[in-house]
Structure formats: structure tokens, C-alpha cells
């Protein structure tokens, strides 16, 4: 990629990296600050995951140059992401859809 870039373009890139760095710092502070508010589990989880995803998007998009990356890489990541999400969803459903879970809940008082 780099060889097609001119000097000015690289300098522009560097400026973008600094903006992204600043945003990441701010978001990190926000996550920690929110954690000290002691929200309930669901809002806390959603806020934390949304912020983490934004940060991850920034790192992947700008530092890893995923924005404007070739389709091939995108396809591979999309495939991987699909399997990852499937794994999460099925693991959680596997816990929730168990025969006799009601009995388990009575013993352990699981919410």
C-alpha cells in the first residue's frame, strides 16, 4: 500500500493517527468513569461493549488500515466474525435452553 502514497499523504495519515489516539484515550477514560457509576449489569454491559467496539473499530479501521482494505481481507474477516457471533449466540442459548434449568435455578437461585 505504502509505495503508492506520497509524502503529504503519509503526513495526513500521521495526523489522523494522532486524532484516533486522542479519541481512544477519551473513550478509555469514559469506560472507566462509567464503571464507577455502578450501573446494573445490563446497562453496564451494553455501555462497555459499545465503547469497546468503537475503540476496536478505530484501531482496526485506522491503525490496521482496514478502511479501504481489499475485499478479500474483508470477506475473510466477515466469515470469521460470522462464526464468532454464531459461537457466542449458540453458547449462550445452550446455557439458557437446558432441560431442568428451572430446578437448577431453585437450587442455586440463578437469575
Amino acid at each position: 500500500m505504502a509505495d503508492s502514497h506520497s509524502m503529504e499523504e503519509i503526513q495526513k495519515h500521521v495526523r489522523v493517527y494522532m486524532y484516533v489516539f486522542g479519541t481512544l484515550m477519551v473513550l478509555t477514560v469514559v469506560t472507566v468513569a462509567v464503571a464507577y457509576l455502578h450501573l446494573n449489569i445490563w446497562p453496564a454491559l451494553i455501555v462497555a461493549l459499545v465503547i469497546a467496539s468503537i475503540k476496536a473499530g478505530l484501531v482496526a479501521g485506522y491503525f490496521m488500515h482496514l478502511i479501504g482494505e481489499k475485499k478479500l481481507i474483508m470477506y475473510i474477516l466477515a466469515l470469521t466474525g460470522t462464526f464468532l457471533v454464531i459461537m457466542f449466540i449458540l453458547f449462550i442459548s445452550a446455557y439458557h435452553d437446558q432441560v431442568g434449568r428451572a430446578a437448577l435455578e431453585m437450587v442455586y437461585h440463578v437469575a
Partner: protein, 581 residues
């Protein structure tokens, strides 16, 4: 990762060690993989031949070789239950992870794929070498565990906790071995994918790739994405065993009448989910390369284009995708709720469709052809009904109502052995007979090959068909005495002897193959030209047999047509090579 220096291999004389041991040439690595995995197949099979003695004649001393074993395993030639369990666990592990996968992917993939796509080598030759040696170390770790004081792993190839968590040291070795094998597969998978995507010769578009290459491409994706969760699970089980965590141990677990002293709070189900997330795609890792081999051989020996090449490719991609979302059909009896079990039953029924399409396409390819009954073709032809039987017997296992009574019976063993033994292994033999002249420049002996074929194909059916019958009668798969102490098993117990004799006969029929394999290296009939089968694909038409040294091709071939242009009207021969304009 980024270290893939390749400059100047071909230019200077290489030392023996660089050329044959720590070689970076994909052809040498392919042969290394091939010989090692064939040896492991033989070892894994020998373990089973020992077990079959105990199953056929429970508690009787093994004649002749029984006295060679130590007192802790077979005192006076009588097999101890612990040793039986070690043999069982290690048979599965060795056959799957050290035998079939490295033969199908490591050996055939390495040797054939770069040649078929017109590449000078794999994309990362050093990584390729590392992949083989990591695999080799993993194999040594697995084998060496037999010499531990308490022997090898005994918890089955699935290593279910809690049993696997509280097992003797053999299980720790198993986990270390697995981590090596998984690492090796990952290195291999990255390499195969990069090679197939990046190093195709000019003109070799995706739709001109032989079906075998497509199968390897999908297989590599499965290895790449399905193996890591098992690596994660392996690390967790290692922690359970070595550090004392309880990821897979529930609270209040009682072992041998005593409460286990661990924190608890874990879940044995977690292991099963992580394990089968790998192990179901793994089934397709075993079968897809086999389908690829069969497709090549069928096209070549029917002298016709494959029937429905594109549909087969779409099917193999769909199979690969679906194989990630069917895993819990191995777990119907774990107390899964109806909604989830419904989901997995539906996906399991769906995944059978592309398999049937591929099988049907291969059968239809035979229609109206004047078949050449060469040895590789015989093996390939036998694959079709055998794999079909394996697949059909799987349907009742994919539906919860029928799976629940059949779970963990000999029926399951019969089912998946039909898929992998007379299915995959016959296909792998077909591949060996087909590509042997490519690697050595000499043909394997045909009469010996036919003896090997008929002996293997027939005896395999005498081993595995009675298993289905025993399983339907309710005989469990893990009985040390083969069911002799169970009242209900008495009507079907006599099959044990039949199966064991058939297993030993199968062993005998491998002797002509082993002899043939080595004898033909020096004494086999030399190939008359570089393309002894009159094939169309690049590995035969654009390079010599045996191929040139490092670099494969003198000049990069250019591809002008699809992979299976046989009997093209108006062409002077009945095959139209891919690299002919």
C-alpha cells in the same frame, strides 16, 4: 510469520539434511507427511487389532505376542481394563489427528495442490517445514505417553471431563500433544489458503481449479477457524489438571466416594461445546479431501467431465459453512432444551443435502462412461457406496428421538467408521495409487493393488456392518468385555468374533500394499511418459514425473481451460490438458 525467506534455494547444491530432512520443498514435506501419517495409521490400526482380541475373547491370554507386553498392561497376556481404555483413547486420537488429517491434508495437500495450481512451492516454505516438524513432535509426545507409569490417556479421544480432569498423567501428555498438533494445523491452514489464493498460475481462475483444490481450500478454512476453540479448551483443561482450577468441574463432585477438593462451579458441558465446535468441522476435514481425491480419479477414469462441477463446488462451500453450526447433535442427551435441539436437528438435516449432491454428482459422472477399472478407480468407486452408507446411517443420529436410544452404542461406531474407514481411507488409498507415479516416476503394481483393494473393501464391511446390528441391539461402545456380561447383548455377541477376525484379515491385506509401496520405488514399472493416466490437470501435463527439484516448473504454465476437459469433440486425444491453448 513474516519470515519466509526463499531466495536462491534452487541455485546451489543442498546438503542431504537440507534436502531431505529440514527441507522447505513442498514435495519433500508432502512425502514426509505421507510416510509419517501412514506409519501412524498402521500404529493406530495395530492398537485396534489388540483391542479386538479382548473383545472377541474377553479375559483370554493373547497368544504369541501377549508375553511381550509389560505386567502393568497385559500380565500373562491378559489385557487389563486400564490398558484397554488407553488403546481405545489413543486409537481414536492417532487415527484422526495423526493419521488421516496429516495424510489427507498434510501429504496430499502439500504435494498436489501447488502442482495443480501451477505454483513453484507453497507461499511460506519455512512455515511449511515448521508445520511438519511441530506435527512430528506432537506425534512423538502422543506415542511416548504409553511409557508413562500409568500409561497413555484413557478418557477417550473426546477427553470429556470430569473424567479427563482427574485422569492420570497420560491425559496431560495428550493435551500437550494436541496443542502441538493444533499449532501444526494452523500453520498448515494459513499456508494452504495463502497458496491457493495467491499463487495460482496465470489463467488459473477459481472456476478452473480442480475440485481437489477446492476441497483443500474449504478444508483449510475449517482447520483455521474451528481448531482454535479446541486449543482454548485444551488450555483450560491443562489449567484444571495442573493448576487446580475447576472450569469443567461442577460443585460437589464426588469421586470414588469422596468429595473432590476443588472450588467447583464449572461445567463439563463447556468442554463438550468447545470440543465439538472443532470436532464436527473436523469430520469434514476428514471427508472433504477424500471427496476431492475421488472426484479427480472419477473424472480421469470415466474420460468425461465431472457431472455438475460447479454444483459440487457450491456444495463443498456450503458444507464447510454449515459444518460450524451442527456440532451439538453430538450432545442431544446432555439435557438440551427442545428449542436448541430443534435448531441443531434442522441444521443437521440441511447439511446432509450438499453431501448427497456431491455423492450424486459423482455417481452421475459414471453414467454412460466406459470406465477404466484401474486400481485407483476401484478404490474411488468403492468410496461412493461406502460413504453413502456412512452418511445414511448418520441420519438417525442427527435426530434427537432416534439419537437418544442409539447414543454411545456400537451403532455410532459403525456409522462414523463407515464414513472414515471404507469412506475416507479407501479414498486416500485411491490417491496413493493415483499419484504414486507422480512422486516416484514408477507405477504401483496393479495385481497387488487389486488384491489390496478387494481384501480391504470386503473385510472392512465385515468389521463395520455387524457394529450397526450390535448397536441397534443396545450394546454400548465402551465395554471392556464387548458385552459378554450383559444379558441383552447375548444374541449379538457372536459378531465380536466375526468382526475381530475381519479386522485381522484387513491387517493381512495391508501387507501386499506395504510390500508394493516399497518394492515399486525401485522395481515398479517406469512411467512411459510424464502423464501415465492421460490426465488433464497441471500436475501431470506441465511438469515431469517425478517432478523437477525445487521450483516445480521450468516455466510458469498458463491455463486456458477448465480442469476436466475429457473427450472434447474434435480434439485429437480424449483429454485436453489445462495448459494447452
Amino acid at each position: 510469520m513474516s519470515d519466509h525467506d526463499h531466495d536462491g534455494h534452487a541455485h546451489h547444491q543442498e546438503s542431504f539434511v537440507r534436502k531431505y530432512i529440514f527441507s522447505t520443498d513442498h514435495k519433500v514435506i508432502g512425502i514426509q507427511y505421507g510416510l509419517t501419517s501412514l506409519l501412524f495409521l498402521l500404529i493406530g490400526f495395530s492398537l485396534m487389532m489388540l483391542m479386538r482380541w479382548q473383545l472377541a475373547f474377553p479375559g483370554e491370554a493373547l497368544p504369541l505376542i501377549g508375553s511381550l507386553f509389560s505386567d502393568s498392561t497385559m500380565p500373562d497376556g491378559v489385557m487389563q481394563p486400564e490398558f484397554y481404555n488407553q488403546l481405545g483413547a489413543m486409537h481414536g486420537t492417532i487415527m484422526v489427528f495423526l493419521g488421516i488429517v496429516p495424510l489427507a491434508v498434510g501429504a496430499f495437500g502439500n504435494y498436489i495442490v501447488p502442482l495443480q495450481i501451477g505454483a513453484p512451492d507453497m507461499a511460506f516454505p519455512k512455515l511449511n517445514m515448521a508445520s511438519y516438524w511441530v506435527f512430528f513432535v506432537g506425534g512423538l509426545i502422543m506415542l511416548s505417553s504409553f511409557w508413562l507409569p500409568a500409561g497413555a490417556a484413557k478418557a477417550g479421544w473426546t477427553s470429556y471431563p470430569p473424567l479427563a480432569d482427574i485422569e492420570t498423567t497420560g491425559q496431560t501428555m495428550w493435551l500437550f500433544g494436541m496443542i502441538f498438533l493444533i499449532t501444526s494445523s494452523l500453520l498448515g491452514a494459513v499456508n494452504f489458503l495463502t497458496t491457493i489464493i495467491q499463487l495460482r498460475a496465470p489463467g488459473m481462475t477459481l472456476w478452473r481449479m480442480p475440485f481437489f483444490v477446492w476441497a483443500q481450500l474449504v478444508t483449510s478454512f475449517l482447520l483455521l477457524l474451528a481448531f482454535p476453540p479446541l486449543e482454548a479448551a485444551g488450555v483450560l483443561q491443562l489449567f484444571d489438571r495442573l493448576v487446580g482450577t475447576s472450569f469443567f468441574l461442577p460443585s460437589g463432585l464426588v469421586v470414588s466416594g469422596e468429595l473432590l477438593d476443588v472450588a467447583g462451579g464449572g461445567s463439563p458441558l463447556l468442554w463438550q461445546h468447545l470440543f465439538w465446535f472443532l470436532a464436527h468441522p473436523e469430520v469434514y476435514v476428514l471427508i472433504l479431501p477424500a471427496m476431492g481425491i475421488v472426484a479427480e480419479i472419477v473424472a480421469n477414469n470415466t474420460r468425461k467431465p465431472l457431472w455438475g462441477y460447479r454444483v459440487m463446488v457450491y456444495s463443498v462451500i456450503f458444507l464447510g459453512f454449515m459444518s460450524f453450526i451442527v456440532w451439538a447433535h453430538h450432545m442431544f442427551i446432555t439435557g438440551m432444551g427442545t428449542a436448541l435441539s430443534g435448531f441443531f436437528q434442522i441444521t443437521t438435516m440441511i447439511i446432509s443435502i450438499p453431501s448427497v449432491i456431491i455423492l450424486s454428482a459423482l455417481f452421475l459422472s459414471l453414467w454412460g462412461a466406459s470406465l477404466r477399472f484401474t486400481t485407483p478407480m476401484l478404490f474411488a468407486l468403492a468410496f461412493l457406496p461406502m460413504f453413502g452408507l456412512g452418511g445414511l446411517t448418520g441420519l438417525p443420529l442427527g435426530l434427537a428421538p432416534t439419537d437418544i436410544p442409539l447414543h454411545d452404542t456400537m451403532y455410532v461406531i459403525g456409522h462414523f467408521h463407515y464414513v472414515v474407514a471404507p469412506g475416507t481411507i479407501l479414498a486416500l488409498f485411491a490417491g496413493i495409487y493415483y499419484w504414486y507415479p507422480k512422486a516416484t516416476g514408477r507405477m504401483l503394481n496393479e495385481p497387488l493393488g487389486k488384491i489390496h483393494f478387494w481384501g480391504s473393501a470386503i473385510s472392512m464391511n465385515f468389521i463395520f456392518f455387524p457394529m450397526l446390528i450390535q448397536g441397534l441391539a443396545g450394546v454400548s461402545r465402551r465395554l471392556y468385555d464387548g458385552g459378554a456380561s450383559y444379558e441383552f447383548a447375548q444374541d449379538v455377541i457372536h459378531y465380536n468374533e466375526t468382526m475381530s477376525i475381519a479386522a485381522w484379515v484387513l491387517g493381512l491385506f495391508q501387507l501386499p500394499f506395504i510390500f508394493n509401496f516399497f518394492w515399486s520405488i525401485w522395481k515398479g514399472k517406469k512411467v512411459e511418459n510424464d502423464n501415465p493416466w492421460d490426465a488433464t490437470t497441471l500436475e501431470w501435463t506441465a511438469t515431469t514425473s517425478p517432478p523437477l527439484g525445487h521450483g516445480n516448473f521450468e516455466t510458469a504454465p498458463t491455463v486456458y481451460r477448465g480442469p476436466y476437459e475429457y473427450s472434447v469433440p474434435g480434439h485429437d486425444t480424449d483429454f485436453y490438458p489445462q495448459d494447452q491453448p
